[in-house]
Every structure is written in C-alpha cells, then in structure tokens.
C-alpha cells in the first residue's frame, strides 16, 4: 500500500535522482565502516576527498558540456579561483572565526561566489563564440588564472592589506604581519577543514542542484538552446541569459570543488599539475566517458578513473599507456548498443523496480 503511494507520487526523474543519492550514501557508509574496521589502505583514505571533488567538477562541467552543449576547457581555472579565494578567506579569518563549521561554511560560499563571478564574466566574454573557439578561449582563461596567481603576493598587518606583483619583501609588512599569498609558493598552512563527510554532502548538494535544474523551466530552456538555438529564440527564450546562467552555475560548483581541494592539503599553489589544462581535459574525459548529459555517469566515471591510475602503478612506465588503452576500451563499450541494452537491464533503477515489484 505504502509502496503504491510512493510510485504514484514520484516521477521517473525524481526516482532516478533518489536512487543516485541513496547509492552515494551507501558507498559513503561502507567507506566509513571500512575505515572504522581498519580495512582501508592509506592510499584509499587519501583518495576519498578527491573522489568527491573530481565528481563535483565532472557533474558541474556536464551542465555546460552535456546540458548546454558547449565545449569548455576552463574547469581547472574556476576550481583554482575557488581554491585561492576560499583559502585566502580562511587564512584571514582563522583567528576571527574560531568555529570551524561557520568558517568553512563561509569559505565554501566565498569560493563558489568568486568562481561564479569569473564564470559570469567568461560567459559574457564568450557570448559570440561557439565550439572550438569557445574551447580555446576557456582553455586560455584557465592558464592565465594559474599564471597570474603565481605572481601575486598578498599580506596583512596592523596597517591593513599589502599587495605586490614583485616579491614578498616589497610588501614591507610590519613585524606582526602575516604573508598570505606568497607568489609561486601560494598559500601555506590553510586550516584543513575538509573531510570525507563534508565532501560527500557537497557532492550530494551538487548533484541535487544540477539534477533539479535540468528538470525545471530554466533547465528546459538550456536544453532547448542546445538542441536548436534558432527554434529556442523563436519560442521567446532568452538565449544569452540562460547561456550565462549555465556558465555561472558550472563555475560556482567548480569553485566549491576548489574549496574542498584547498582545505584538504597543507600548501596550495597553482601548478600545471593541479590547475593546468591537463586537469580541465581530465575532467572533460570523465564527463565524456560517464556519458554526455548523464550526471550519474559523471560521478561513476570520476571515481573509476581516479582509482584506475593508482591501481596501475605496478605497471610503472607503462602506466599511462595502459590507462589510455583502458579509456579507449571504456569509450567503445560505452557506446556499444549491446552494452547499452545490458546497462539498461541491470541498472540500479531496474533492480530497484524489480525488488519492489517482488515485494508487493
């Protein structure tokens, strides 16, 4: 009886989303049990938070690539902004706001907001660009952000903030002063406020935001623009507005991933390894392999493809070669009709459906 009511009230999309969230929570609980039982390796423990921020990056990029249908390679840039803005905020307020929960909550908003502002700015700047041109400009943006951050020196003392583009000495800080951003050395000793629980919660929040957006008036407008721009305009849909909206939300969520990243490590600096174009392309690979427009797939692909290189370490020099081959095989399997049919048959959703039917 109860089950029937649930069936009537929940739409297909809502069910799909609930199952995904439930799956995330189950995996989270299993990880916690393994940690408590001492069954998780040191390596795996270190990967739990990265799983979450990579997933957030992939889900949010999928909004631009899969839902809006535009190729963006600036994801690492937005993450970088979120990371630096929030780390800067946390370092400045560490004495002011001793409560970790409040400070970190604020830091998350600071990171998201800073990245959102840049996302909106980029969205406006690339209004006339499509396809490859858009990819190139967003790629350049990411690289510029990373390089600019390597030249900035910021500190503060009793006289307020000091800023320089030359070196730390030219800030002329008083004796009581603190150096916050130290050029290429970046920001050191950021409070390590990130943990697996917060990361999981933010991943769930990201999933809900993107999933709910897709199934709403604005989401339909964004997908209409993707499917046929001219028809969308003829329906009175403000193409410019919704394009910028999608860019901004993608950037804000990438900023959140940056916040998690920055508060998970002891020293934050912008290097080609963490915020370079390789990172942006890697996230794009997660999105493509997880399925364009499929946000659940983005999460699964992020986790698998983050784990894979770690487990391929024993191959030493051949590691990246094998990794590339695995990517190609995954891509082929992903689009193979037999595999798609198989996935449909044994998907989480259908298993769930069968179970409830069996019980009734």
């Amino acid at each position: 009886m109860k089950k029937n009511i649930m069936k009537v009230n929940l739409s297909k999309d809502a069910k799909y989303n609930l199952i995904t969230i439930a799956a995330i929570i189950v995996v989270y609980a299993m990880c916690q049990i393994m940690i408590a039982a001492g069954m998780m390796s040191y390596l795996m423990k270190g990967l739990l938070v990265p799983f979450c921020y990579y997933s957030i990056l992939a889900v949010s990029l999928n909004l631009t690539v899969g839902i809006l249908g535009e190729l963006s390679l600036g994801q690492a840039g937005f993450m970088c902004i979120g990371a630096f803005a929030s780390a800067f905020f946390s370092k400045c307020t560490i004495n002011l706001i001793p409560n970790t929960f409040i400070r970190f909550t604020l830091a998350i908003f600071v990171g998201a907001l800073a990245a959102a502002i840049f996302g909106m700015f980029i969205g406006v700047a690339v209004l006339r660009l499509r396809g490859d041109y858009l990819a190139i400009v967003t790629l350049a943006f990411g690289e510029i952000i990373k390089n600019v951050l390597n030249t900035i020196f910021v500190g503060y003392d009793s006289k307020g903030f000091h800023f320089s583009l030359k070196d730390a000495a030219s800030l002329k800080l008083q004796g009581d002063g603190t150096l916050i951003i130290n050029g290429p050395q970046g920001i050191t000793s950021t409070p390590q406020d990130t943990n697996f629980t917060v990361s999981t919660l933010l991943l769930i929040a990201t999933f809900i935001i993107v999933a709910n957006l897709i199934n709403s008036r604005s989401g339909r407008a964004i997908m209409a623009i993707r499917d046929n721009r001219i028809a969308a305009e003829a329906m009175g849909i403000d193409v410019t507005k919704f394009r910028i909206l999608a860019f901004t939300i993608t950037a804000a969520l990438a900023g959140v991933a940056g916040v998690l990243y920055a508060h998970n490590i002891s020293s934050l600096n912008a290097t080609p390894k963490n915020f370079g174009y390789n990172m942006s392309i890697m996230i794009l690979v997660f999105v493509v392999l997880g399925g364009i427009g499929n946000i659940r797939g983005s999460i699964i692909a992020s986790v698998i493809l983050t784990l894979l290189p770690e487990y391929l370490r024993f191959l030493q020099d051949y590691r990246m070669l094998i990794y590339a081959i695995v990517l190609i095989i995954m891509m082929i399997l992903n689009w193979n009709p037999t595999c798609i049919a198989w996935r449909k048959k044994y998907s989480l959703g259908s298993i769930f459906r069968k179970k409830t039917q069996g019980e009734v």
Binding site: N212, L213, R217, A224, A232, M235
Partner: protein, 252 residues
C-alpha cells in the same frame, strides 16, 4: 481590425532581391495563404517577420505595435510564433517538454525556486503540464507526451511544431509548409486541424503552402509571391483564375 500590416518590406542577399517591396495587411482572425514557386522568397518573408533577418527597408506593425528591427525573442514576446520548413524540434526533449518550452514565458518561476523545489515550482509545473496536455490533445499527441520528439514519425513532428508554437500564446501564427512530406490523407486532416485551432485559440494565421489548391480550400485570402515580388493578392477564386498566376505555376 488589423493584426499585421507590412509595408515595403525588402531584403537582398548579395545581388539577389529575395523579397522586393512586400506589402500585406492581415485582419484579426484571418487565415491567409502565402504561395509561390520554390525560391520565390516565402520563407524569407517569415524570417523577416520574425526578426531572423533584418530587413533592408520596410515597416512591420503587429496589432498596432511597431516590431520592425526587433530580435526574434522580442518578436515572439510581442505575439508572433512560427514553425519551420525544415523541422526544428528540440530533439532530445520529450514531446511534453517541447510544448512546455513553448510555455516558457507564459508560466514563470525563478531558477532558484526550481533548484530548491519551492512550492512555486510544483504549483507552476502542474499548471504547465495541464496546459501542455490541453494543447497536445488538440493535435492528438497527448498519448505520445513521454516520447522523445526525435522518435516521432514525420507527420507528428510537424504537428508538434505547431503545438509548440501555439504554446507561446501567439496573436499571429506563421506556418511554413506544414503539410510538406505528408500524404494526402494526413494533409487533409492537418488542414482541418488548422481551421480548428484558429477557432479554438482565436489566432490569426499566415500559412505558406506549395500546393495552391490545398490553400484555396481553407484560406480566406491568398498572396502569391514570385521572384520576391507580389504577383497576385486577394480572394482565392480571383487569385487562382489570375492568368499571371497560372502562367507562373505552369511555367515552373
């Protein structure tokens, strides 16, 4: 009462004068036919009326409002909706969502309300779904509401495009060869549907059709375009018996 009044509308592509001093006046509630041989400039007239192309010269007045030079978005909001000769559906959206996209400016709630699933989201979405089903029923598409629009058969795709255009609640509906690719039975059924929607939605219609006889059956007035210029304009029997028109069609 005039719904649409167009004066001296012209556009050239390179040396080609695709539309040359186009003049038309359409009364409220009228069903007007725009015919002419291939390449006569019919679709270009639609593109000018909906702001896809900016005219070289001319004035377009819709229901007393000057809409010349406005963007397609503004023109849709002002009250013109259209379909396309080469179907332009939102292929990866369902039939229902295609119509709901047409309702975009009719029923509103904020993006934030959608993300946070505030009461306004549920309330408005319910109204949108009801309205969309109402429109789909007119076209006998309500049973296919959950189908991906790309998977619809061709004839139904054409109908869905009209349904989507009607969802924007237009004063003037422009239909570009709505029966193209349909068999005679489907065509006849569609023409009945078009006369029906005019009454049901109280909308004025300008319809492009290749087949002259078909237009004569349902339209009150017919405009014949040839090489971008007016060849004839008036009541169907006068236009169809016009020797110039017969020549243009036979000489094609």
């Amino acid at each position: 009462m005039e719904m649409l009044s167009v004066k001296n509308l012209s556009i050239s592509f390179g040396g080609l004068r695709a539309v040359d001093s186009f003049n038309i006046t359409i009364q409220k509630g009228e069903l007007y036919g725009l015919i002419g041989p291939n390449g006569a400039g019919k679709t270009t007239v639609f593109n000018l009326l909906t702001g896809v192309y900016k005219p070289d010269s001319g004035i377009i007045i819709l229901d007393g409002e000057n809409i010349s030079g406005k963007s397609p978005i503004e023109i849709n909001k002002a009250g013109i909706a259209r379909t396309f000769q080469n179907i332009r559906l939102f292929k990866n959206l369902t039939v229902l969502d295609n119509v709901k996209t047409g309702l975009h400016n009719q029923y509103k709630y904020t993006t934030l309300a959608g993300i946070l699933r505030l009461p306004s989201y549920y309330r408005t979405e319910k109204l949108m779904t009801e309205k969309a089903y109402d429109i789909l029923k007119v076209f006998d598409l309500d049973k296919e509401a959950a189908t991906l629009s790309a998977n619809l058969p061709y004839g139904k795709q054409r109908k869905l495009e009209i349904a989507r255009a009607l969802a924007t609640n237009p004063k003037l509906l422009l239909l570009d060869e709505p029966a193209a690719g349909m068999n005679p039975a489907e065509t006849e059924e569609l023409m009945k549907t078009i006369t029906l929607i005019r009454e049901k939605f109280g909308v004025t219609i300008l319809l492009i059709e290749h087949d002259m006889k078909l237009v004569a059956g349902i339209c009150e007035k017919i405009f014949v375009l040839n090489f971008g210029m007016e060849l004839a304009n008036g009541l169907p029997q006068d236009v169809l018996n016009n020797p110039e028109v017969i020549k243009a069609y036979l000489g094609e």
